[in-house]
């Protein structure tokens, strides 16, 4: 592992990611060009599709919400030096926790009373789904990357079993639970705006977005301003020093993974309690995996993660429009663009560093 070149902070967190995204978009433009379509027009359509009208914005932010949760989950684990690839499964099982809580109580309690319980359900279920691989890593040396991937498959199989055989609504073909009582649904953005007299169109955006932003702030405080976050970062940076400091790396790994899984589980609040209002299959739709790219791009910092989530939300939402507008472009184009963005801001994250370092060296000759 070669040392990345040291750059001023604003370059590292501002200029470099922007350059990476531009490079990804440039390459994507070439692909669109080779399909015989106009890339400028495509960008225009995509941006309009993501931000052009309030329903579009609602969708964009709804996707953003999921990415923030899964991105935070990956980032927290990463600070302890752990690569949690299992956000997908943890989100899935977290959703199960949400569903079980609401199915049990939805007639009895209103949404605001249910929300803390549903969040607890998401945290416990998602947390356990990550803590088991964490335990295996800490005490048995099973590699976390392998076990979390395996747990994604287990989650998937478990959910199919439960929905097909146990939780399916009687007399129904599709493997879904019954719909929750409407009193248990999280308030939608358009409903909340209506209360203060602003009229916005209906979209899946709901209160979870606010929860995601709050979670980002809490994670930032936790990681950088508490002794537990300090312990996590110490273990991640230098396990030997952690032991020396009286920090138990094994316990730290276990609890960090649990926390990571709890955050991923919150996707269930947005999807199950906020949008779908029932348990169903595959509601995680790859958000857990995209969270890895989000965390990578956001440099594992909550501010970066919120911004990266917005970018990926834009791609998800705006990309869908591409499909409608252009004959030659299908929905898969979004995956291609995403792929390039992940390639340039993840795998090739430091590609532009030498170039920028030289440029800066020329523009700002040796200070001090």
């Amino acid at each position: 592992m070669s040392q990345p070149i040291k750059l001023p902070k604003w370059v590292d967190v501002g200029v470099i990611p922007a350059l990476n995204i531009l490079a990804a978009l440039a390459v994507s433009a070439l692909v669109i060009l080779s399909l015989g379509e106009n890339p400028i027009e495509a960008l225009d359509v995509m941006l309009y599709g993501a931000f052009g009208y309030d329903e579009a914005i609602g969708y964009t932010l709804y996707y953003t919400t999921n990415f923030i949760f899964t991105g935070l989950a990956v980032a927290v684990a990463f600070h302890a030096g752990l690569f949690n690839i299992g956000g997908e499964g943890q989100a899935y099982i977290g959703g199960l926790g949400v569903g079980l809580v609401i199915l049990a109580l939805d007639g009895l309690l209103p949404w605001y009373a249910l929300l803390p319980l549903a969040m607890l359900g998401a945290a416990v279920f998602g947390g356990i789904w990550a803590a088991v691989p964490g335990w295996l890593q800490a005490y048995r040396g099973s590699h976390i990357v392998i076990t979390t991937i395996m747990f994604n498959f287990i989650a998937s199989a478990l959910m199919v079993y439960l929905l097909v055989n146990v939780m399916i609504k009687p007399g129904q073909m599709s493997p879904e639970s019954r719909e929750f009582a409407e009193s248990a649904w999280l308030p939608m953005a358009h409903q909340m705006f209506a209360v203060i007299g602003i009229d916005v169109s209906r979209s899946p955006l709901n209160l979870s977005f606010v929860l995601a932003l709050i979670a980002s702030v809490l994670v930032a405080i936790f990681i950088w301003r508490t002794r537990w976050g300090y312990a996590i970062r110490t273990v991640g940076r230098n396990e030997t020093a952690a032991i020396y400091a009286g920090i138990d790396p094994k316990k730290t790994i276990f609890w960090t993974m649990a926390l990571s899984g709890m955050l991923a589980g919150m996707v269930g609040i947005n999807e199950i309690m906020g949008v779908q209002h029932k348990l169903l299959l595959n509601f995680t739709a790859g958000y857990g995996f995209t969270g890895i790219a989000v965390a990578l791009m956001g440099r594992n910092h909550p501010i970066g993660i919120v911004l990266a989530s917005l970018l990926f939300g834009t791609l998800y939402q705006g990309g869908a429009e591409l499909d409608f507008e252009f004959e030659q472009i299908t929905r898969d184009m979004v995956i291609v663009i995403q792929g390039f963005i992940i390639l340039f801001s993840g795998a090739l994250a430091y590609m532009f560093n030498p170039l920028v370092a030289r440029l800066i060296g020329r523009l700002m000759p040796a200070r001090g």
Binding site: Y230, R233, G246
Partner: protein
């Protein structure tokens, strides 16, 4: 090792083997070498001394083709050359023995020596040639190594010989050795200097980089001193002294001996009874070791690295578990395999630990200084404000300690990695001594630390002892052990093989003990002890 061989260096018209003229090199704003001039005469041993960061390594890296000088000229045998890569350096007959060996442990000596000069797709021919060459070299220079032994099985001294052989077999006439004795016993170091002597006799030019002035004085013909990137002096070795060289290196008068008052020995703080530590491979690293450390004394543990001192220190600090025996702290807490403690509890009992390896244990180098300042104290009330860490308290505390310990630059926000070795060590010391410990465990306190800081660190340790702390010092620097300790224990192969008062100690005797060759049972030198390290 004296003037008998100097006839070769006189030869009036002969050009220097290496001549550097006006070499400058900067990394960003840091000027590592400034207008450096150096003349090394053929067939001599030329020493280069200087503090860490004085630019010795950069200069040698330029000579070996790792870096390009921004300005200046290199002449080999009087001819100007450009050295673009280490390959070019090798072709010019320049060889380098690095401080950390560049050997493949799992391959044989022969394979290692051939690496990079295999001589064709099939190894057969090259192997025969290399074997013959090895035989010749070992005959000529006394560089005996078994060609088919695995490098990983050799002792450190032998591995170093393999490095030298590697250079010679590539036709090297100018050999650069970077801190070659750091890992050797005194006896092994003496063997090395005999080999260097033999090489010189046959016309090989040797550049010796070291910070040990004793070695410079014993082994070299001439010496150059670097300070802050510049060459500040050239001396003929017989015409200089350790005091003069130290002063040239640091730029001011330096006290090489530690002045300390008589110890005021107090009650027993640490009592170890048959302490045994077993590693993950089920090998006993510390074997039934018993000793005591009292308040107000410094007990030094001498030994070649890897003979159990590290494990002993870590066991006492609560990092490694005991597998047998016990030790008691202050007569109150007894720690054994059945009643272990951890570093957290150890700190609570008034134990401070300056670990041997500050990069891997004592610091999180990516963290800023103020976060390193609370390492191990992160749970303390003074650094916490309810749920949150009190960053301001940590920063203020760190800044105050940096002032007291003269850490430069005194900026608590800089990452620990950006401080020099000496300043990093002061950061660790500041943190550990802040607690006014009853028992201070110190490992290699001055490893990679420059002379100016060494003086400060030694004085600080003595001050701790005078305030009544019990100090247990582990160091591979025999001089350090001898000058700081009140009492000396010698460890070899996990056992304490000797104990003496510092006043009665002499380096030759301790050296023999370190190698586990005591006068009475000489043939029993344990092979395992040789391999470790």
């Amino acid at each position: 090792m004296t003037s008998d061989h100097q006839q070769s260096m006189a030869g009036g018209g002969e050009p220097p083997a290496i001549e550097l003229k006006g070499i400058s090199k900067s990394f960003g704003p840091v000027q590592a070498n400034r207008n450096v001039t150096l003349r090394v005469m053929p067939g001599t041993i030329h020493g280069i001394v200087g503090e860490n960061g004085a630019g010795k390594s950069t200069l040698m890296s330029i000579l070996y083709g790792f870096y390009h000088a921004d300005a200046g000229e290199i002449l080999v045998d009087g001819t100007p050359v450009t050295i673009a890569s280490s390959r070019a350096a090798i072709d010019l007959g320049i060889g380098m023995v690095h401080q950390h060996f560049m050997l493949v442990d799992t391959m044989s000596v022969l394979d290692n020596v051939m690496l990079g000069s295999e001589g064709g797709a099939l190894l057969d021919k090259g192997e025969r040639a290399a074997r013959a060459e090895l035989a010749r070299l070992s005959r000529d220079y006394g560089l005996t190594v078994e060609p088919d032994a695995l490098v990983g099985d050799l002792s450190v001294g032998q591995q170093q010989r393999v490095e030298i052989l590697k250079a010679l077999i590539r036709g090297c006439r100018i050999l650069v050795l970077d801190e070659p004795t750091g890992v050797l016993t005194p006896q092994e170091a003496d063997r090395l200097f005999e080999i260097l002597d033999a090489l010189r006799e046959r016309g090989v030019t040797i550049i010796l980089i070291t910070h040990k002035l004793r070695e410079i004085l014993a082994a070299t013909d001439s010496v150059s001193v670097m300070r802050l990137g510049e060459m500040v002096a050239h001396r003929k070795t017989p015409k200089t002294s350790a005091e003069e060289l130290a002063e040239l290196m640091v730029g001011r008068k330096v006290l090489l001996r530690v002045d300390k008052p008589e110890p005021k020995i107090g009650e027993t703080i640490l009592q170890a009874d048959n302490v045994t530590v077993t590693d993950a491979q089920d090998v006993d690293r510390v074997k039934a070791v018993s000793f005591t450390v009292h308040a107000g004394e410094i007990v030094g543990i001498a030994g070649v690295a890897g003979n159990g001192q590290s494990e002993l220190l870590q066991a006492l600090a609560g990092i490694q578990r005991l597998s047998g025996g016990s030790f008691s702290i202050n007569g109150t807490r007894t720690v054994s395999a059945a009643t272990p403690y951890n570093p957290h509890e150890a700190r609570g009992l008034g134990i401070a630990h300056v670990p041997e390896d500050r990069h891997h244990m004592g610091l999180v180098t990516a963290f800023p200084a103020h976060e390193n300042h609370i390492l191990g104290h992160q749970d303390w009330d003074q650094y916490n404000n309810g749920l949150l860490l009190d960053r301001e308290a940590a920063i203020a505390d760190c800044a105050a300690e940096m002032e007291r310990y003269d850490v430069r630059p005194p900026n608590p926000h800089l990452p620990a990695a950006s401080f020099s070795g000496g300043n990093q060590q002061k950061l660790v010391l500041a943190r550990e001594l802040e607690t006014e410990p009853k028992l201070l465990l110190v490992g290699q306190p001055t490893r990679g630390v420059d002379i100016g800081a060494i003086e400060f660190i030694h004085n600080t340790l003595v001050a701790m002892r005078d305030q009544g702390a019990a100090v247990l010092l582990v160091s591979v620097e025999l001089e350090e052990i001898m000058s700081l300790s009140d009492r000396i224990l010698v460890m070899s192969d996990g056992r304490i093989v000797g104990e003496m008062m510092a006043a009665d100690a002499d380096p030759q005797r301790i050296g023999l003990m370190m190698a586990n060759i005591s006068e009475d049972d000489a043939p029993q030198g344990s092979p395992e002890g040789d391999k470790a390290a």
